[in-house]
């Protein structure tokens, strides 16, 4: 190494101006990181309140309205303000241009705009929702949301609508960047899987979000102007809303999990020092999931009174969409074979992801099976299933990715011991919280209940205790990450001996990512 010190992207100054008007994707990543972390802990507090209420069978800690507003807040914040933007807007923003070998995203100013839309929309919603309360759940089912609820539905819907634009802009930016900004030699089959995953996610964002937008717009119009669209008394179809909502919201699940799969592919290859097993298969699986994900939405409606034929068709596709996910799990596991495995914190997150995602995926099969879904629909089994995918899967991978790329983003190392403790606490706390909910679900406990028959108390108490461990697991990284910013040891360009263009530049990277644009001569994960 020469002694020459590059000016990196953080050395451009700390003035407010240099952050709030930046168009550097790496700085925008930090803006997102701050907003998203705020929303995550807000949603987390709501979750703890929910678990606290459910310690005892009667509704004694929160009123019925209070409970309903709390779980709605939890759902709305976590789905739209945390999970959907989480990995793409932070890690994706930081890494997409670096991984394809570009100086920035194709539209840097659009990128900044999308952060503003996201954050202002989010703050607006939070203020309105906490001030006025919304009790519809994150699903906004009509006619409850349009005609019966007396809470601040319009504000919530408007907020989600606004944030939708931010998703769309990010999606456009990633798609165009992947298509037009790749470095010389970086052809499609040399892209890291993280790029592929974010690309597929962007396709979903772009194709699905507008349908949600127009649907939410109509709920607002129905409440504000009395223009009935979903109103059964005008001959409106109560299932129409569900169709349009799930046309977005089912693919939205893949918006959350695909980037997570991308992250895990990077983690597992790096810490087993091995090529990914079946790269082409992985790419194919990513694209298959994102496209097939669009034709399974009706599996949220098996009990709703939709046509039985449609139910059968949707069930069939739901079984099909599970196959590529299973193949991916096989490939990750096979990547360990004959590798050199180190159990660093990011790797522990990666392996936790494998286990938790497998449980979440397999219970998804239970729910694709029509008759079984009828019994399990709207019970705690569902709650447990999607938390295994979204928290056990997406959030675990998000944290794993943060731990992996933290040295690159900051140039600092964090405490190894504490990071491993946090990763283990999360794994244990998560299972303690959500495994009992599978049992609750099969025994019949419906979701969104603020009081319940006494027989279910034991399992609820276990779940609530687990949530405390989980909360500690989430707070720890906040502490040692902050500590590392000031006291952490310098990381060097490549602390993990990882492959990938982002590791070939300094940590933190210079303003335009590379001193000179790299020329790519081989595929990703050249570990052997």
């Amino acid at each position: 190494m020469t002694a020459e010190v590059h000016k990196h992207y953080l050395s451009g100054g700390w003035s407010l101006h240099s952050w709030l008007l930046t168009t550097d994707h790496k700085r925008i990543c930090w803006l997102y990181l701050v907003s998203i972390t705020g929303f995550f802990f807000l949603g987390g507090i709501a979750a703890l309140l929910i678990r606290l209420e459910l310690m005892t069978p009667p509704g004694d800690f929160l009123t019925a309205e209070g409970y309903n507003e709390t779980f709605s807040l939890h759902g709305i914040v976590m789905v739209w303000f945390f999970l959907i933007p989480s990995i793409p807007a932070t890690l994706g923003n930081f890494l997409m241009p670096m991984m394809v070998g570009a100086r920035d995203l194709a539209f840097p100013r659009l990128n900044l705009l999308s952060w503003y839309i996201y954050t202002l929309g989010g703050i607006f919603t939070i203020v309105m929702v906490i001030g006025g309360g919304v009790d519809t759940g994150w699903t906004f089912y009509t006619p409850y949301s349009s005609l019966f609820s007396s809470s601040a539905v319009i504000a919530a819907v408007a907020g989600v609508f606004i944030v939708g634009f931010s998703s769309i802009l990010t999606g456009i930016n990633f798609i165009v960047t992947t298509h037009t900004m790749r470095a010389p030699g970086m052809h499609w089959l040399r892209l890291p899987l993280f790029v592929w995953a974010n690309y597929a996610t962007s396709l979903i964002l772009v194709l699905a979000t507008p349908v949600l937008s127009v649907t939410l717009l109509l709920i607002a119009a129905e409440r504000l102007l009395g223009i009935g669209i979903f109103d059964p008394s005008l001959g409106g179809d109560p299932l129409l809303f569900q169709h349009l909502f799930w046309f977005y919201s089912h693919p939205a699940v893949y918006i959350m999990i695909l980037p997570a799969m991308g992250v895990v592919s990077e983690l597992i290859t790096c810490f087993s020092k091995n090529r990914i097993f079946g790269y082409k298969g992985m790419v194919l699986a990513i694209m298959a999931i994102s496209l097939f994900g669009f034709v399974v939405w009706g599996h949220h409606m098996f009990t709703s009174g939709q046509s039985l034929y449609a139910g059968i068709l949707f069930s069939f596709f739901s079984f099909l969409v599970a196959v590529p996910s299973a193949v991916k799990t096989l490939n990750w596991t096979a990547t360990l074979y004959r590798g050199r495995i180190t159990f660093t914190a990011p790797m522990i997150y990666g392996l936790s992801f494998l286990g938790l995602f497998a449980i979440g995926g397999l219970t998804g099969i239970f729910l694709a099976a029509l008759a079984l879904d009828v019994h399990l629909h709207d019970t705690y089994f569902i709650t447990a299933h999607f938390h295994y995918i979204m928290v056990g899967g997406a959030v675990t991978a998000y944290l794993g990715g943060l731990h992996f790329w933290w040295p690159k983003m900051t140039g600092r190392l964090y405490s190894e011991l504490w990071s491993k403790i946090a990763a283990l606490a999360l794994f244990i706390g998560f299972n303690l919280t959500f495994f009992p909910q599978f049992l609750l679900g099969y025994s019949g406990m419906p979701r969104r209940y603020h009081e319940y028959p006494e027989a279910f108390q034991l399992l609820h108490v276990m779940s609530s205790l687990g949530s405390v461990v989980l909360a500690i697991g989430y707070l720890l990284p906040l502490v040692y990450f902050t500590w590392s910013l000031f006291r952490g040891a310098p990381a060097g360009a490549n602390p993990w001996q990882a492959e990938g263009l982002e590791w070939r530049t300094a940590s933190p990277p210079p303003k335009h990512n590379f001193v000179s644009i790299p020329r790519v001569t081989e595929g990703p994960y050249a570990y052997r």
Binding site: A106, I168, I172, L207, V211, V214, L218, G228, G235, L244
Partner: protein
């Protein structure tokens, strides 16, 4: 006029790359717009098959002549916009301005006719807003109301896009007036042209769906 040597924005390698990126970005954006309207079309389709008679009857209460005139206006504005694109490429500032202004005039004409149509429907008491009387002359007033709700939402959403388009053209007129960087203007004109033509395309399907599926 001074010849400006074109330079790409700092994240791009060359002009070709920038042009490709900008056009692709616009097209992807238009796809999202398509799906925004698409949700509305899906709703309409669902209700059209559930209440076929009333919906056909209600379509008969809309003014086909006015809508046809509007379609002519919009198609013509598509022509002038395409000509504006050619004019800017040919480097003629005056012609570009003329075509831009013609496009805007035609667009304003469209909105005027649309407004008159809404006014007529308001007079005929077919506007289902709170505070207004909805007087449907036939049977099944509720389902007719559903039709008119969808009609006003879809045409309103389209009119909103027209207004945004007009705003965009207004900005472009100012930029053409200044004529700073012709390469950039060409790119911007192409993007505005794409948006304007897209609003045309949506209108063609709205016209077909709302006006032509009468009894």
């Amino acid at each position: 006029m001074p010849i400006v040597k074109p330079a790409p924005a700092e994240q791009f390698d060359d002009m070709g790359q920038q042009r490709r990126a900008v056009l692709m970005g616009m097209w992807v954006f238009l796809v999202t717009e398509l799906l925004l309207f698409g949700g509305g079309f899906a709703m309409f389709a669902m209700y059209r098959v559930q209440h076929p008679q009333v919906f056909a009857e209600a379509a008969g209460h809309l003014s086909l002549p006015l809508a046809t005139a509007n379609t002519v206006l919009l198609l013509t504005s598509g022509l002038t916009m395409a000509l504006a694109e050619q004019a800017v490429e040919a480097g003629s500032r005056r012609l570009t301005l003329v075509f831009y202004l013609a496009t805007m005039a035609l667009g304003l004409g469209f909105l005027g006719v649309k407004g008159y149509e809404w006014y007529q429907e308001w007079q005929a008491q077919l506007m289902p807003l709170p505070g207004l009387v909805f007087a449907w002359p036939g049977n099944e007033s509720q389902q007719a109301e559903l039709f008119f709700n969808l009609y006003f939402i879809l045409t309103g959403l389209h009119a909103l896009h027209m207004v945004i388009g007009l705003g965009l053209l207004g900005v472009m007129v100012v930029l053409v007036q200044r004529w700073r960087d012709p390469h950039r203007l060409t790119r911007q004109t192409q993007v505005s042209g794409l948006y304007w033509a897209f609003v045309d395309v949506i209108w063609l399907f709205l016209f077909t769906t709302l006006y032509l599926l009468g009894p």
